[in-house]
């Protein structure tokens, strides 16, 4: 036994068990602070700023480049409207965000409202998807639209609302298999290991670049898509597509062709929809500011 082993052994033996009363008090304190700090009570701007400091562009951008042809994004909205950003600092923050923009960042911008737990992933598709799709999710909202910048690119938006406290997770053995996109459509797509998985929750939208946890897919029991609010959801998807395109334009992505920031802004303005929370208007203003308009 060397000195290090000796020290470890002594430490292991000397380490006491926590005092039950202190432990209970600490856990109670943590819960008390948790209730105070519930994400829904954290401002829209604070959450954006927090994630801005966490986002590291490199690894994310690499994955996104591979998957530029298709992505998945979930943008449900809750009845409670988020705080509107009023601070002039937000424009600078948004500028920074777009400077290191990615689809994940676009998702962040667009999905800033307090959200229910939702998982979303990117589904690379090599054929236009029309009509109703089926996906192997418990409950879902799946829409596909043609990318505004290319007739060859389709954006697939999938949202799921798993029950309970746990989210849907993926396993590489599943990712390697073709996933049936629905008996009605007759289409299938290969979900690659480059799958982008976003988790949308009250803390915002996070990109999970690596498969996590256990498999929740069960067999091939596709079910019809259920859109609770088809009109509102489609508005949101169209607007999200504009933000995604804008994000790509700031990076000079060649896939966009001649389509640029001005086109993205125009497309976004055309698809503001009802904008129930006023978020899209605020985002559009940010886009215009960044484009110097």
């Amino acid at each position: 036994m060397d000195d290090l082993d000796q020290l470890k052994s002594a430490l292991d033996r000397a380490t006491p068990q926590p005092d039950p009363a202190a432990k209970a008090a600490h856990l109670a304190l943590a819960m008390q602070n948790f209730e105070r700090m519930k994400p829904a009570e954290i401002s829209w701007f604070e959450r954006l700023r927090a994630r801005m400091t966490l986002r590291s562009g490199g690894a994310v951008a690499g994955s996104l480049t591979v998957c530029i042809g298709a992505l998945l994004l979930v943008l449900p909205q809750t009845p409670d409207a988020p705080e509107m950003p009023q601070s002039p600092a937000l424009l600078q923050t948004a500028d920074d965000l777009f400077a290191e923009s990615s689809m994940a960042d676009a998702a962040e911008i667009t999905g800033m409202a307090p959200l229910g737990r939702t998982m979303a992933g990117a589904v690379p598709v090599d054929a236009p998807l029309t009509g109703q799709l089926d996906m192997l999710f418990n409950s879902r909202s799946v829409m596909s639209i043609q990318a505004p910048w290319s007739s060859d690119t389709w954006l697939v938006f999938v949202s799921t609302s798993p029950s309970g406290n746990t989210g849907i997770s993926f396993d590489e053995t599943v990712l390697a298999k073709p996933v049936n996109l629905g008996g009605a459509s007759g289409l299938s797509a290969q979900i690659s290991s480059n799958l982008l998985v976003f988790e949308v929750n009250t803390a915002g939208v996070d990109l999970i670049s690596e498969p996590i946890g256990d498999v929740l897919f069960e067999g091939d029991d596709s079910q019809p898509i259920q859109l609770d609010r088809p009109g509102q959801d489609m508005e949101l998807v169209q607007f999200a597509a504009a933000v995604i395109g804008f994000s790509q334009a700031t990076q000079g992505q060649t896939e966009l062709g001649d389509w640029g920031m001005t086109d993205a802004i125009t497309f976004a303005a055309e698809h503001l929809g009802t904008d129930p929370s006023g978020q899209r208007t605020a985002i559009l203003a940010q886009m215009r500011a960044i484009a110097g308009q």
């Binding site: 002594a10 033996r13 202190a22 602070n33 946890g213």
Partner: protein, 180 residues
């Protein structure tokens, strides 16, 4: 097939406002956090203070959990940062290292035959710089060098170097005691 809820799932649920998930996550890791705090402070009372600080801060820190690192890695990073904050608050070195007396008393009570060893360990932990002590505490807690590097924000090579330095320091202390 769904198995036991993972730490990552709990952390993400907690980040989305699920209080039960947060409570489960913290309860699952509390004892280990406390033990880690004891290892880097050497004092039950300071470990309790530090654990309390961590518990109080964790809700605000949840937003920094992005799922890329393991929950344990993230928790230990929070703990190490809290320990650094605690050290900064201390005013004197003697106060900072006074806690190792608690450790010594605990060891004496546990094994009266180990007085010599305790004396050496007491001296060793008092003399080790904070960065070496933090590194040892992580490695002793079954963290790999790679995990310790991620938690402390240094390279894996630095961890290996620190372990090497700690070994040298411990050997020197041991030799000095034997000569004395």
């Amino acid at each position: 097939m769904r198995m036991t809820t993972s730490d990552t799932e709990l952390a993400k649920a907690a980040a989305s406002g699920d209080g039960a998930a947060f409570a489960s996550l913290l309860a699952r890791h509390y004892d280990r956090l406390f033990a880690f705090c004891f290892r880097i402070t050497g004092s039950r009372s300071e470990a309790e203070d530090l654990t309390q600080d961590i518990c109080a801060a964790l809700p605000a820190k949840l937003s920094s959990f992005d799922g890329r690192a393991a929950v344990t890695t993230w928790l230990y990073r929070v703990a190490v940062n809290a320990a650094h904050d605690q050290r900064r608050k201390r005013t004197t070195y003697s106060k900072a290292t006074a806690g190792w007396g608690d450790w010594e008393r605990a060891r004496v009570a546990d094994n009266a035959d180990a007085d010599d060893q305790i004396s050496w360990l007491h001296a060793a932990m008092n003399q080790l710089p904070d960065d070496l002590r933090d590194t040892l505490a992580l490695v002793f807690d079954e963290m790999t060098h790679a995990q310790a590097a991620e938690i402390l924000g240094v390279s894996e090579g630095t961890i290996s170097w620190r372990i090497s330095q700690a070994k040298k320091a411990l050997r020197a202390i041991h030799d000095k005691e034997e000569q004395g």
